[in-house]
Amino acid sequence: MLELKHISVDVAGEDGEKGILKNVNLTVDDGKFVVITGPNGGGKSTLAKVVAGINPPTEGQIFFDGQDITGLGITERAKLGISFAFQQPVRFKGITVRDMVELAAGEKIEEEQLCGYLRDVGLCAKDYIDREINASLSGGEIKRIEIAMVMARKTRLTIFDEPEAGIDLWSFNNLIDVFQRMRREIRGSIVIISHQERILGIADEIVVLSGGVITAHGPRDEILPTLLGDDKCQFCPKLEEA
């Protein structure tokens, strides 16, 4: 179980301190599939990075399975069982897809299993295993490899930051299948930051984060209709006025 208690993140801006997250309280229960959505700049990615240990909070505490992990670094949290798929995956000269998936799995893995992970994310495995994760991969390819990596980790909490970004519509159905399989096979919690209706549609719970605060949190059936019910964007006051 993941618990965020009174989490705030401030950054120095031109006009003094600016709050990216403001007193956020959130609990993700074991085995839940939670989608965090909301407007750009609302603090979603920052929230994910706070959980992974990449961004330290200015205030507040983070508990993972009852343990206070606020003071722990990225590595320690990863070892405790937190995975994080980046919105913009990182490229490495000389490190291959096989290297990275094996690093993620924490051990050498059989080629068949490696191919399985890549197939699951819609990549023809044989073409990719020995490819370097460098600039020669397209945005969509590297994004899928990023997802394959966290799948190989099989941790108790997996966070995806906009997994759909850069993935073409053709492959998107595949991605939905991947998430559904993950929730069946891995008895852990999944947190996905997404704007995609199809992803929202398979959530147990939906969290709306806007302006650094949680404006709604509840079961999908309760929250989703409020997000889709209006043609106008509910997050954009200017449109409302128009």
């Binding site: 990182v90 490495f92 000269k93 690093l103 924490g106 980790r153």
Partner: protein
Amino acid sequence: MKNITQQLLGLVSDLFGAPDGAYNIREDGACAGRQSTDQIEITPKMGKPGIDILIKPGTQGENVYIPACVTHSDVDDLVYNDFYVGENADVTIIAGCGVHTEGEESSQHNGIHRFFLQKGAHVRYVEKHIGIGEGTGKRIINPQTYIEIAEGGSLEMDTVQMKGVDSTRRVTRGKLAAGSRLLIKEKIMTHGDQTAETDFEVELDGDGSGVDLISRSVAKGRSHQVFRSKIYGNCACTGHSECDAIIMDHGVVSAIPELTANHVDAALIHEAAIGKIAGEQITKLMTLGLTEEEAEAKIIEGFLK
């Protein structure tokens, strides 16, 4: 053959015991073993140190080993090795040099290798340099490589210096005739107070010739590296050089490329990137459970692979 020579041979050419095929093993300036084959003749030079390696036209798939080892301090070794590669031969040449010092005096190996490739010949040239030993004496390796490739020939050079070499000046010159290709991949890691200087100069003289110089290096500690490359395009040709370096601690890397197009159809490119390891690369590997130090080591291992 001394134990240290055997250890060095393993490090520089993955050799354990005498190799199959043609070889010449040099130990502290003298010959520690030599063998020719039907296709490849190795003969000592007259009047100066070194050997001539004659590879007959059409030789296919043979290896030539010519490692050189310096086993103790206070050795100043100079050697001239000339390779004559016959038409349409296709061979692999494994050179490499290991220097061991146990005392205060420096030791050095200066290997001057010249390659003359006849029409259609193909050579893969593998060269690894390493320094070992507890001595404070400097381990110095200065390789010079001169390459002339006739029409349609090609040479691929893989040159690696991983550790322990205190000072190196690596000079490579190439002269390419029509339709010939030269590919050089260089990998260097320096640490402590080491210095490494690379100096490439290639003349593209024949239409359709092409050169690709790719250098990847890591400079740690207070080490200092200089990468110089000059490519002259004298005809319709392609030239590309690339210097990609990671600096750590107080390491310093200079890249000084020079391209000269003496012909309107010469297409020449240089790329250089020098910087520390990107923070996001370390962060990514840490999210997979590696410590910061493990992440750095992994990134460098991949970069120099």
